[in-house]
């Protein structure tokens, strides 16, 4: 077959067709690539904004916690202060005793004079009571200081942003730390805690504590609003059936209106009165759960209560 024939023309026509289609495709591909780059940039911006939002919400949560934490600090502070006051009274007899020992050392006191002075100090200053009291006072004061230190540590751990990198951690410990942080706020509520030992997961500790605080603070609010005499909040952690870990926080509070449920996780949506809620708590909680590749679900019945269930995949 000669190449000057119709066959050659057909081949060249087909090749041109390929060129045109490829050129069109390349144009679209380039546009798609640039659009994708723009989207990636915007996604990065959104991630940064979300991080700022989560941090802001954390600071707001810190504000919510402050009243309870102040109360928690007040208790140990009260008895530490009381103990120090007692110790202050004990300084004088102890100093008198030391002075007497010093005089004895310098040979300025002897015999009956020394005896009289010692008996006086012992009887008038009730040295036996001081001796009984001192170890307990010191022990309780140290315990109070340890308690204050623990509360401040919990608070600092929660607020510190350097906790916000993924690392292997125990959910059990995270929940226990969080409950300790909320100890003051949850006094007077029937708190049921059933936490099983579950495998560690890779997580952001600070973020998870924030999510749990949000759910517990909401549960407390719902229970308060119900005006029930029996105020119950339940925290459960267990292995799930689908290679996951289930964390459930439930309450016997007012429950959630069925109309509200679909919007519950929307940013800036709140049913609380103006000034009482940012409307970001559950949105941020959901974002945190998603960041951990988990799922959050809510079941609620008005007048009966609500249950928030988070499932984290096992690694």
């Amino acid at each position: 077959m000669s190449e000057d024939t119709d066959y050659k023309k057909a081949y060249l026509r087909e090749r041109r067709a390929r060129d045109e289609v490829e050129s069109l495709l390349e144009e679209k591909t380039r546009a798609l690539y640039l659009a994708n780059q723009t989207l990636e940039r915007q996604l990065e911006q959104l991630k940064n904004q979300q991080a700022v939002l989560i941090n802001n919400e954390r600071m707001a949560t810190l504000g919510t916690l402050s009243a309870g934490v102040a109360h928690e600090l007040n208790n140990p502070l009260a008895y530490v202060a009381g103990n120090l006051e007692s110790l202050n009274f004990y300084i004088s007899p102890i100093l008198q005793l030391l002075e007497t020992v010093k005089l004895l050392e310098q040979n300025d006191l002897r015999g009956s004079e020394l005896e009289t002075r010692l008996v006086n100090i012992y009887l008038k200053q009730r040295l036996d009571e001081i001796a009984d009291d001192l170890p307990e006072l010191i022990h309780d004061t140290l315990h109070g200081c340890e308690r204050i230190k623990a509360i401040v540590n919990d608070l600092m751990n929660f607020s510190r942003s350097n906790n916000d990198s993924f690392s292997s951690a125990s959910l059990k410990k995270i929940i226990e730390d969080t409950l300790r942080l909320l100890h003051g706020q949850l006094k007077g509520y029937e708190l049921t805690v059933a936490i099983e030992d579950v495998p560690n997961i890779s997580c952001k500790e600070g973020a998870l504590k924030q999510a749990i605080i949000n759910l517990l603070v909401n549960a407390k609010y719902a229970v308060d609003m119900s005006h029930k005499s029996h105020k119950s909040i339940e925290v459960l952690l267990a292995l799930g059936k689908d290679q996951d870990i289930i964390l459930s926080i439930s309450d016997n509070g007012v429950g959630i209106d069925a109309d509200v449920l679909p919007r519950l996780f929307d940013p800036f949506f709140t049913t609380k009165p103006v000034g009482e809620g940012t409307g970001m708590g559950l949105a941020v909680t959901q974002a945190i759960v998603k960041e951990h590749k988990g799922k959050i679900e809510v079941h609620s019945q008005e007048g009966v209560g609500s249950q928030f269930t988070i499932s984290f995949p096992l690694e």
Binding site: M1, K8, Y11, D19, V21, E22, R30
Partner: protein, 179 residues
């Protein structure tokens, strides 16, 4: 290997030894009914077999064929992607931008994961030292492409190839001497 390279070979073969020769090469070395289109990936072995087929037909060493192919491929690609080739005012500018600009454009269009790694350093006004590294070891084709680029910018080029992957080195060194 992306189809655009096969299309470059097709163009060269059809122009140089005819449509029928290309058809015969396809019959011998490609799956039945194969049509090459630029954005699709095809097995590397297919390109090597076709190139070897051309060498056999022309009774020339494969390295010579790859060098000729590379030279022709540059013209084909420059014509096909005028927007990219027009970005460079000189041969030197183009060579220094292979990784940062040209390969970036290739990634945009073809999402090609196996691009060679090429770095170039200007030694003096007339000398550029280029390091080439690729699992495909197509350094002779790269030489051809450089000759094609020099021709495009009307420059005379001689290439020394003192270190080669085909001789066991981890990468090739190409020393480009310009007029």
């Amino acid at each position: 290997m992306r189809g655009v390279i096969f299309r470059g070979l097709e163009e060269l073969v059809v122009e140089a030894i005819g449509m029928q020769a290309w058809d015969e090469l396809l019959e011998a070395h490609a799956p039945e009914g194969r049509v090459y289109v630029s954005p699709t990936s095809y097995p590397d072995e297919e390109l090597f077999a076709l190139a070897q087929g051309v060498a056999d037909k022309l009774e020339k060493p494969l390295t010579d064929v790859l060098a000729i192919f590379g030279q022709s491929l540059f013209g084909f690609l420059a014509e096909k992607h005028k927007g990219i080739s027009s970005k460079f005012a000189s041969f030197e500018e183009l060579v220094l931008s292979i990784d940062s600009v040209i390969h970036m454009e290739v990634k945009k269009l073809y999402n090609e994961p196996n691009l060679p790694s090429i770095s170039a350093i200007v030694k003096d006004d007339k000398t550029i030292v280029l390091e080439y590294c690729s699992s495909r070891k197509l350094c002779f084709c790269a030489e051809g492409l450089l000759h094609g680029a020099a021709q495009f910018y009307s420059r005379k080029l001689k290439i020394e190839h003192p270190q080669c992957m085909h001789k066991g080195s981890s990468h090739c060194i190409l020393i480009l001497h310009l007029d």
